[in-house]
């Protein structure tokens, strides 16, 4: 490089315009909002809501002779949508207006669904309220309760006991069989297992009342057994079996293939792979499927109606004499014209629902964990197990060294 060229570059540099660089920001930068609801939207919603409420109140009773709660809400919703669409169209274009209206509609659908659930639960508890909080409801049966007796006498102990006995029997029948069958479907990929799977899928379509009719005709009429808790649990089992096999099948299919392959590569025979790898991995999923199946079976009325008979006395023996379950008791009590019986029926339904709720929460607590993710205790147990294995292996290599 010589001196001349340097001076040239100086000359060039003099002609360069330096681009404008903004200095440091004068005020702190604002984070851009990525949320979907702006303040304006909220104001629009509020405005449309107030407008639709007042218009509907004006329409109902003042301008026309419309009445009824359901109609009120429907009209209010329609007016809300129209007003809201008009408000949004003041500032936004057509696609945005359609988007807002559809969002309102979708949200309404969800609201209807969850409102229905809330009223189903709330109304049942409300109607059964007078009987739910009495100890005699849980400690007595209805055998000595006359039609004139108030709610302070008689209860549904017989139905609670009956439900517990029936569901335990059903579990004994279905759980081992359904898990074994699901293992069969998963471990054997032959034409035979494909056929079994098709038949099981077909039987999930069996209406539950037909399971009851089958047991009623085959077990009670043809074989001559009595109506009993056992008959009812067999009927519920026949209804539940295909459902539980299918859900267990799905859970087992979710076990990652590389776990099976790792086990096979270590030389484990198939049954060891199933027992030590597949089943422990799928344990929480299997528990969930069993519990949800039980929740379904507990609430089943139709097969029990045909096979268990109806009684107001407590019966601990599932082999003999009629035995009732909670849903059947609720069904029979509510059909009575007496107000006290109807209240008892709703209380029975509420107890049944609480039972289902407990089972359901148990399923949520136990399940919902993907295959291979351990709880703290499971992880601790697994670590302890591998530590023991390590000690064992070290002892063996030391022995070989000598």
């Amino acid at each position: 490089m010589n001196v001349a060229s340097v001076s040239d570059r100086h000359a060039l540099a003099d002609e360069t315009t330096i681009p404008f660089r903004p200095g440091p920001p004068t005020r702190p930068q604002e984070r851009r909002r990525t949320g979907t609801v702006s303040r304006q939207d909220a104001m629009y919603m509020l405005g449309a809501g107030i407008s639709s409420l007042s218009t509907t109140m004006l329409i109902f009773g003042r301008l026309t002779s419309l009445h009824g709660k359901l109609g009120f809400y429907v009209v209010a919703l329609l007016i809300y949508i129209v007003v809201y669409a008009v408000l949004v169209s003041l500032t936004e274009n057509r696609p945005a207006v359609i988007d807002r209206v559809m969002t309102v509609l979708v949200t309404t659908c969800a609201l209807i669904a969850f409102l229905a659930l809330a009223t189903v639960i709330g109304y049942t508890i409300f109607r059964g309220w007078d009987a739910i909080f009495r100890s005699n409801t849980y400690l007595q049966d209805l055998s000595r309760t006359g039609p004139q007796d108030g709610l302070d006498r008689g209860g549904i102990k017989h139905a609670i006991v009956g439900t517990l006995i029936m569901i335990s029997l059903t579990l004994v029948f279905t759980v081992p069989l359904s898990v074994a069958c699901a293992i069969y479907l998963n471990e054997s990929r032959s034409r035979a297992s494909g056929f079994v799977r098709t038949v099981v899928t077909a039987m999930t379509a069996l209406p539950s009342i037909l399971a009851g009719l089958f047991i009623f005709s085959a077990w009670i009429l043809t074989l001559g057994f009595q109506r009993s808790g056992l008959a009812a649990s067999i009927a519920v089992s026949i209804m539940m079996l295909p459902i539980m096999i299918r859900s267990a099948d799905v859970v087992l299919r979710l076990v990652p293939g590389n776990l099976r392959e790792a086990s096979a590569a270590l030389g484990a025979p198939q049954w060891r792979t199933v027992w030590h790898v597949v089943l422990p991995t799928a344990r929480s999923g299997l528990m969930t499927s069993v519990i949800l199946g039980v929740a379904r079976g507990v609430g089943e009325t139709a097969p029990v109606l045909l096979t268990a008979g109806y009684t107001a006395t407590i019966n601990y023996n599932p082999l003999k004499a009629p035995m009732v379950s909670l849903p059947l008791t609720a069904f029979e009590l509510v059909r009575s014209p007496l107000q006290t019986q109807i209240t008892r029926g709703f209380a029975t339904a509420a107890v049944l629902m609480i039972l289902v709720l407990i089972l359901f929460s148990a399923a949520r607590l136990l399940g919902g964990r993907p295959a291979g993710h351990h709880t703290k205790r499971q992880a601790k147990r697994a670590t302890a197990h591998s530590r023991r294995d390590l000690v064992r292996m070290q002892a063996r290599t030391r022995g070989m060294g000598r």
Partner: protein, 341 residues
């Protein structure tokens, strides 16, 4: 490494490698394990086929008595005079199920879309549990709710529909006078419409679970692509989510239809049975095959029971077709490979 070690290794006497014999036959403990598991498969198969066979055998008695065609076209159910058929009960069953599905599908689709697209992330798992809980609520509870709470709310709606839309045949009610404010509400109670609404609430969560499952599998890239092209949320749902989930929507709908056809207790609680076909869904009185079985199973244990079996078999055939169509749709859709319905 030196050259000599390489030579050493090469000169070691290596046996000629013989390929290991691979056998797919199970040996020893595996064979007994497999035999045990297969037995359970065979037992399940035997039970299921046994039930199916028994239903068919029991039904033949009644079918041979009146003939298949007569059985399918007769409306009455008079066992003593050997005049019975499923024309009326099957029609009512299908009507109840259709009302249920027509009401349930928009709600379940909206709820599924709300959960996957609109609801804030922290709320999603709660909503999913709530829908699952709704599916687990026993049918007798829905029945009580429908009979005691819903009926009173729906009767004014029925009256309104009849008053303003009575010229549409399905909303017409015979014997109702819309101009008289004193007319008895009993012409509107216990109708197909009310039973349909209750059954709709029961099948809604079943449909919603399937649809939500499918909607949640929409590829993120396609969602983001739509957004990047300037789509609104609804635009994205319309061009990406709904086409992707079409199989799930159809499959879920049909799965719900299958459940709606077989529902017993809620229908028994609400309807008052009748045996003449009517397509006016708001009119009092309705019927269904499962309600018929629940009401009549102990009346006539000979021919009557056989006739009930035949009716039940017809119902089973319909639900079977519906369910298999549902799984066919789900399995063939783009999203269906991994979903469980």
């Amino acid at each position: 490494l030196t050259v000599s070690t390489v030579v050493d290794v090469a000169t070691v006497d290596v046996p000629v490698p013989v390929p290991r014999r691979l056998s797919r036959r199970r040996r020893g403990s595996d064979r007994s394990f497999f035999a045990g598991v297969s037995v359970s498969g065979v037992v399940v198969l035997a039970i299921m086929l046994g039930v199916g066979l028994f239903l068919t055998l029991q039904a033949t008695d009644a079918l041979s008595k009146v003939g298949l065609w007569k059985f399918l076209t007769t409306e009455r159910w008079e066992i003593g005079r050997a005049r019975f058929g499923i024309a009326a009960v099957m029609t009512f069953t299908v009507e109840i199920a259709l009302v249920a599905v027509v009401i349930a599908v928009p709600i379940s689709m909206g709820t599924a879309l709300f959960i996957t697209e609109v609801a804030p992330r922290w709320l999603r798992s709660t909503l999913i549990s709530l829908v699952d809980l709704m599916a687990a609520v026993p049918s007798v509870v829905y029945g009580l709710w429908g009979k005691a709470l819903l009926q009173g709310q729906v009767v004014p709606l029925s009256r309104w529909l009849n008053t303003w839309f009575g010229w549409i045949p399905i909303f017409h009610v015979r014997g109702a006078d819309p101009n008289s404010p004193l007319s008895s509400p009993s012409v509107y109670t216990a109708s197909t419409f009310i039973a349909g609404i209750v059954v709709a609430m029961m099948v809604m969560p079943i449909q919603c679970v399937v649809m939500r499952e499918v909607f949640s599998q929409v590829p993120l890239g396609e969602r983001e692509g739509a957004y990047a092209l300037g789509s609104t949320r609804w635009g994205m749902i319309r061009v990406v989510t709904l086409p992707f989930g079409r199989g799930g929507i159809i499959g879920g709908t049909m799965l719900g239809l299958g459940r709606a056809l077989g529902e017993t207790i809620a229908v028994v609680l609400i309807i008052s049975p009748r045996f003449d076909i009517t397509h006016h869904v708001l009119e009092a009185g309705s019927n269904s095959i499962s309600a018929l079985i629940a009401n009549r199973y102990s009346e006539d244990l000979g021919l009557g029971l056989s006739a009930l079996f035949a009716a039940g078999l017809a119902l089973f055939a319909v639900t079977l077709v519906v369910n298999f169509t549902a799984s066919w749709f789900v399995a063939r859709s783009r999203s269906g490979a991994s979903s469980e319905a």
